[in-house]
């Protein structure tokens, strides 16, 4: 196996996913088969090749920025309209700091 159940639990923690025990087992199996396929990349010698992070990154055609100016933004009510819990103009979340 390329990935253990323990590693799956650690990655789930990083990804803020609460996987159930049966999900962990299934995930380990799926990731193992995907990572085995991905190993194919090691056949290639990529010494001296530049990583490509973005299409046409250095191109004049796309590398442009808009003018920085003041513009209207969403109102407080619009920004909160889809929140599952809000109040007093804020997003409400469970208590973060215990007193």
């Amino acid at each position: 196996m390329k990935i253990t159940d323990e590693e799956v639990r650690r990655v789930a923690e990083l990804a803020a996913l609460a996987l159930r025990d049966d999900e962990v087992e299934r995930m380990a199996k799926d990731l193992d088969s995907i990572l085995s396929h991905i190993d194919k990349l090691n056949e290639l010698d990529t010494t001296g090749i530049e990583p490509m992070a973005q299409v046409l990154f250095a191109s004049d055609e796309t590398a442009t920025l808009r003018e920085d100016r003041e513009r209207p933004s969403l109102s407080n009510a619009e920004a909160l309209a889809n929140a599952p819990v809000s109040g007093n103009g804020y997003f409400k979340v469970p208590r973060v700091i215990e007193r």
Partner: protein, 475 residues
């Protein structure tokens, strides 16, 4: 509805055979009646559609140009935001999400007189090749109701094929416009990366995401692309290159055009699909194209590179669905950290979780260089393969998918097999070049096959020229 095109609707409106209001009301009724067969639409937008239709009628009455898409019923994939109109991304997390703004492509198509009649089903957050990963049930292929329409833009492809929309918007990250277009027998276009603004397209893998049109004819796809393409200051990666009138390229003349057949794309092709592709190539030869074999030697590494890059970007992009600002929230939440985890565990489907996990893993400490940077270097090699090929040929022709539409449920248990089926579409996205699927007949079982046409950056005109010439010769 199936016989209408952008041009025929315009003619009907200008000759006063019907008003935009009458036509839109009929289109909505037809779409709502037919939808249970395929589940292509998740939401209908009758109020917005009727208001847009009224605006078209007012322009016509005032003697103004009603726009290039006047009165045309358009379906929009539910990963593209629409102000005041529910946008779910095929996810339980966004089941009740009402966006506070419109995507740029949506604004442009409505300014051109297009009528958005509804939002279409898709794989959750555009992750999938079969539309079976939607939280709102799979879409059925209108050509064979027990089969998938392809994915992830399955609802948009099905709506156009079924005749419940004339054109549609989809999004393509690894083949999500072209593959469903090929499965449903319609035209699907992935333009050059940056050709259409991504503002308002829910991010999956930002360096690979494209908005692209579906249509029943190449001409209609060309018209829709011209309307939505062009620089947008809300997307820094949108291209400022001028947008030509793609319809000027549709003159049927492809004599002397050099077409490349990548030998790597003809290995492992199912014979019923291969037969249709070879017949299409013969047609193009008869039209005067010079066909030669070429090689894109790094094709075999594309899936591996793609599933590292796309999932790495997705793991970052999907971090925002946390139960605070716009998603549903898990009821049992205790602490903030538990609330995040439980909201995401309940809300995301299995495929999204798989990709978030893979993306988080390849970016995690100790693996970043071995996976992520390695994949980006391979991406360079794939882009270079294309750049070299386009020094020899004007366009590349290839299959879209190794096989036609498969049965619903047939491949759900094997995620790797599903990923491997994207082999012919993923490379175009990695290189950022324009590519499209144009229908090229049916298998002996009556399933549509798509011919893929790829050209160099910003040369959509040549791509449309080949597709249109082929379509004219084959009908």
């Amino acid at each position: 509805m199936k016989n209408y095109t952008i041009g025929s609707i315009r003619e009907g409106l200008l000759k006063k055979q019907y008003s935009a209001e009458e036509f839109t009301r009929q289109a909505l009724e037809h779409a709502e009646r037919e939808n249970p067969k395929t589940n292509a639409y998740l939401t209908f937008s009758s109020v917005r559609a009727m208001a847009a239709a009224e605006a078209v009628d007012r322009k016509i009455a005032a003697g103004e140009d009603p726009g290039a898409l006047a009165g045309v019923p358009v379906a929009v994939k539910d990963v593209i935001v629409t102000k005041g109109l529910r946008t779910t991304c095929g996810s339980k997390l966004l089941e009740h999400y009402i966006p506070p703004y419109d995507a740029t492509a949506v604004i442009r198509l409505e300014q051109a007189g297009g009528i958005i009649i509804g939002k279409t089903n898709c794989d959750e957050f555009a992750m999938g090749s079969s539309n079976e990963n939607s939280a709102f049930g799979p879409v059925r292929n209108p050509c064979a109701l027990d089969r998938v329409p392809g994915g992830s833009s399955g609802g948009s492809a099905a709506a156009v094929a079924q005749g419940t929309a004339v054109v549609a918007l989809g999004s393509d990250t690894g083949g999500s416009v072209r593959q469903p277009a090929s499965f449903c027998g319609v035209v699907g276009v992935t333009p050059t990366y940056g050709r259409v603004s991504r503002y308002g397209l829910t991010a999956f893998a930002s360096s690979l995401d494209h908005i692209g049109p579906f249509a029943r004819t190449t001409g209609d796809a060309a018209t829709l692309l011209r309307v939505i393409a062009g620089r947008d200051e809300m997307d820094a990666t949108s291209a400022s290159a001028p947008v030509p009138d793609y319809r000027d390229a549709l003159n049927g003349d492809v004599r002397g055009l050099k077409l490349g057949l990548p030998r790597e794309y003809f290995e492992g092709l199912a014979s019923d699909t291969g037969d249709r592709i070879h017949a299409a190539i013969e047609t193009l030869k008869k039209l005067g194209c010079e066909v030669r074999e070429i090689s894109l030697p790094h094709t075999q590494y594309a899936i591996a590179a793609y599933y590292i890059i796309a999932t790495a970007e997705a793991s970052a992009n999907l971090a925002r669905y946390d139960g605070v600002r716009y998603t549903t929230r898990a009821a049992s939440a205790g602490t903030l950290a538990e609330m995040y985890r439980e909201t995401r565990d309940e809300g995301f489907g299995a495929e999204c979780k798989r990709r978030i996990m893979l993306g988080t893993y390849v970016l995690s400490a100790g693996y970043y260089d071995a996976y992520y940077v390695k994949a980006q270097k391979v991406r360079s090699l794939i882009a270079r393969d294309y750049a070299e090929a386009f020094q020899q040929v004007d366009a590349i022709v290839a299959p879209v998918s190794p096989f036609p539409a498969f049965k619903i449920g047939e491949k759900v248990d094997d995620p790797v097999a599903m990923y491997l089926s994207d082999i012919y579409t993923i490379t175009g996205d990695l290189a950022g070049i324009p590519c499209m699927s144009v229908p090229c007949g049916l298998t002996p079982d009556g399933l549509p096959v798509g011919l893929q046409i790829l050209t160099k950056h910003f040369d959509e005109s040549t791509m449309f020229r080949v597709a249109d010439a082929y379509a004219r010769a084959s009908t």
